[in-house]
Symmetry: C2
Subunit: 201 residues, 2 copies
């Protein structure tokens, strides 16, 4: 059974989706530890209420690498095989990313490489695309540039606001993320160039 570490900064709705999937057997993994850089993140409270090891590490008053290292130590102490970002509003430093190469996964609310970075839904609306979606990808040292694990689409509807589009994408994320993590943890894959290739069994 693979062990997941989850990093979050807010309500952690994708963490909840992962947790529900593990408990309903759709994701054959267990959440080993939850870490936040925000002491009162609702996701952290939810983790505690669910009986999961849950830690807060303030990022203020230390360097990025120092904070990353604290997070890394608690992940290692809980033997996390895969680190799942779930609304973690901190960039991970190069040292952490390299130490956890191909072991950190994120979900982003656009069809990457379109609309990386903040406010991806707003960017998509402003560009005028007719289709957008969500992307699960491995984290590398760039901004939303790592190898893609899974993508799925939603239409942009006439009259969509940033809120209505974000909601539609979020509902998709809650399905896509557990599915993608299930594939990553249960299947064999390799990285070729910048492609993640699942190997037929």
């Amino acid at each position: 059974m693979k062990r997941l570490g989850v990093l979050l900064s807010g309500r952690g709705s994708n963490f909840r989706a992962l947790l529900a999937a593990t408990r309903e057997g759709r994701l054959a993994a267990e959440i080993a530890v939850v870490v936040s850089n925000v002491s009162d993140a609702p996701g952290l409270a939810h983790a505690r209420a669910a009986g999961l090891p849950a830690f807060f590490f303030d990022h203020r008053g230390r360097t990025r690498d120092e904070h990353d290292a604290e997070v890394g130590r608690v992940l290692a102490a809980h033997a996390a095989d895969l680190v799942c970002l779930a609304g973690y509003m901190r960039l991970l430093g190069r040292a952490f990313v390299e130490a956890h190469a191909h072991r950190v996964v994120n979900i982003h609310p656009s069809l990457l490489p379109a609309f990386p970075g903040r406010a991806a839904q707003r960017q998509a609306l402003d560009y005028g695309v007719r289709v957008t979606g969500a992307t699960v990808h491995l984290v590398d040292a760039g901004l939303d540039t790592g190898p893609i694990v899974a993508q799925r689409t939603v239409p942009v509807e006439a009259g969509d606001t940033e809120e209505s589009l974000s909601e539609r994408i979020l509902a998709l994320e809650h399905q896509l993320y557990p599915e993608a993590v299930e594939r990553l943890t249960s299947e064999t894959w390799r990285i070729e160039g910048r492609r993640l290739i699942f190997l037929a069994r």
Copy 2:
């Protein structure tokens, strides 16, 4: 009945898709003229065989603007309301684009803004996306940057080659392009920022 001018450089499979749609009543417009910069383009021969006015203008030995102007004159002479690019392998100059603002439409084999320019299918495969598609857009002075009219998706399958993916996208293009041109010619729309907005009737 809106009149379409079609520009092509090769087999013109999207031209054929547009022509079929006009003849089957799925596209309430008529093809007024077909123009090519390649004398032996199969699409040009197809246009002639179909009884359509069809012209060849060599782009060699003249400037881009001179060539564009020749094309523009024959489009005007045939009273084309909308210019549909169908595998036209020439960049249109700024003068032509500005003289035909919001009246030139193109189809591109990716979900723009991802993978503009040449070999979009190859770019998508190399990036490792799981979803790509086709985009119908108005042509502006940039490379595949104009306002988006329509987009539709196809999956990238494990084992896809540039050929297999291109074929899947092309089949989609042949459906999407006539549908998008039908909307453009039959509905009311306006440009807002860089968004094309169809107005409810």
